[in-house]
Point group: C2
Chain length 334, copies 2
């Protein structure tokens, strides 16, 4: 009988390891790999590079709108995009539980491969480990993206006051999907994780020379985390018009049911932008011209007052602080 | 009461995550980090770079001669060194089990930090995830090293026949230590993992213009794996003089007790070299002048016969094939 799942021997660095790599990984990644069979991949560069690493441990590994394979590519490619870099290379380390079904592994490798193609990067180094049953829950992937900086000087430390704060899409979609899936809440809707590659949407902003101070994809900790980090790092205040926040009704519903703030929920295909006020409308227009940015919204501005604080305002004049998220929130969200 | 272990909230991307990073990671890594607080690290380069990623899942995480922190830095820095590159940057992604003791985490971060200093690299991007108890066994670390190539064209695909095969040190030390620790075999000796950074030992070979065809650190699968991969990739035969293999008595003892071949056991601070015959003695001399290379040995040669095969010979004329390792060997060795 043919084996149907990953065995410990597939991780021993011998015959079976080679077989796993050839039969499942190379099969779908062949044209996307450089320097296969060496200890390290090699590339030539004469520019400023951005590098970002992230470990993906999401549970469940398959979810509405994506899976761990796709997420692990988009996630790190998005992180270098946030530094104004065009992703070029990616490394990936797979950690797999003994007994993991080949069928599921192949599904993940196929979507991982499709994401690599979409991001137009090359897989420059890879690693596979197999762990005994019970020492890891199904599969973790760590990726590192390397990209060439095309729009320099973006930084969480360089926000100025009187700039506009914009979100490129609706808030909390990914977190709400994972939460409801994990809590087995039936969502009678098509709500999907927003899991997506952000660089193509941002490219026009870079080439149109929009004056951007900072970009940050809103993942773990949601926009509450991004805004508080920016306010702190750049010593500015941030004022958000609460009514402007684009939040899907399904996400609002899940938040009410579970007692969460949408602002603390993760996205995986949305970013927050800080741009100069004069460019805010042009930014909005460019974002909305892209498929991912159709729900983009100007949500607030940086201020000279209330330094290091994020303040939510309503049109009735109510004000409250948006705190840096704390407590457990949702483990294994990405 | 002060918390003594890692909690799920330390992985939520909020206040507690920041605290964990500041109190334990930054405390020991402050001077070694570039671009802290951004989504990606940035560096400038105008050369050929080598990149290598590896996931470290070793069990136990503390062992004679090292721990997972040190191993995760040396391991990936060694991998880029094998491509003739001087390591310059490293990224690290920590995955930690809920309940992991701060005391142990700090020990690991301290040795991780010392290894970064020793390798003279900068930490350019990092990530920390906390996983619910039972979904990961203690801690996994994935690192990616980036290095500048100083000795180009090393490749597993470029071995020629009539070259010398050299090992830089004794065989199987790391594997034997982990095995005996896991099987609770008392070794009445000082046997330690050989876990070490290899670049400094190799640097003189690069500057002295030794004619090297390939380098490979012998880790998972041992030298059996390296030699078989080389024979296959370069379509040459490899003949090894079995009596020349430097193997410590303790390692021989453990192998006999457990029925293993030392050639299948992992090292973490030893590499195999393929150099032109005319340079073999000079190579040996340079290696032996370095602390790590004192037990270096010429163990065999590449041949035009027996292509894709590795053959072990004794002085009595006995011959046998050294197979590519197969079966389970030892999971979680690195």
């Amino acid at each position: 009988m043919k084996m149907q799942s990953v065995q410990l021997s597939h991780g021993s660095g011998g015959v079976e390891s080679q077989k796993l790599i050839n039969d499942i990984f190379y099969k779908h990644l062949q044209d996307l790999v450089i320097c296969g069979g060496e200890d390290a991949g090699v590339f030539e560069s004469s520019s400023k590079l951005a590098v970002s690493t992230d470990g993906y441990t999401i549970s469940p590994i398959f979810f509405e709108g994506g899976d761990i394979g796709k997420l692990s590519i988009y996630g790190s490619c998005n992180d270098v995009s946030m530094m104004g870099a065009k992703p070029q290379y990616i490394t990936a380390s797979f950690m797999i539980e003994e007994g993991f079904l080949f069928e599921e592994l192949e599904k993940i490798v196929i979507s991982f491969s499709a994401a690599i193609k979409e991001c137009n990067v090359k897989l420059i180094s890879g690693d596979t480990k197999v762990l005994p049953k019970g020492t890891i829950d199904k599969m973790f992937i760590t990726t590192t993206a390397i990209g060439e900086i095309v729009y320099p000087n973006l930084s969480a430390f360089s926000l100025q006051s009187d700039c506009s704060i914009i979100v490129s899409g609706t808030i909390g979609d990914h977190g709400a999907v994972i939460f409801s899936k994990r809590e087995e809440i039936e969502i009678n809707s098509n709500l999907q994780s927003d899991c997506a590659f952000l660089y193509p949407m941002l490219e026009s902003l870079f080439t149109e020379n929009i004056n951007i101070y900072a970009l940050r994809d809103s993942t773990r900790g949601g926009i509450a985390s991004v805004l508080n980090e920016w306010a702190n790092s750049s010593n500015v205040g941030i004022e958000i018009n609460e009514e402007k926040l684009p939040i899907k009704n399904e996400v609002r519903g899940i938040c009410e049911m579970l007692g969460f703030e949408a602002c603390n929920l993760a996205n995986e295909g949305m970013c927050v932008l800080c741009v100069s006020k004069k460019d805010e409308l042009k930014t909005l227009e460019i974002l909305r011209n892209s498929k991912l940015g159709q729900n983009a919204q100007i949500i607030g501005q940086t201020t000279n007052e209330n330094k290091k604080q994020v303040i939510f305002k309503t049109s009735y004049g109510a004000k409250r602080y948006l705190e840096y998220p704390s407590g457990e929130l949702l483990p294994r969200i990405c």
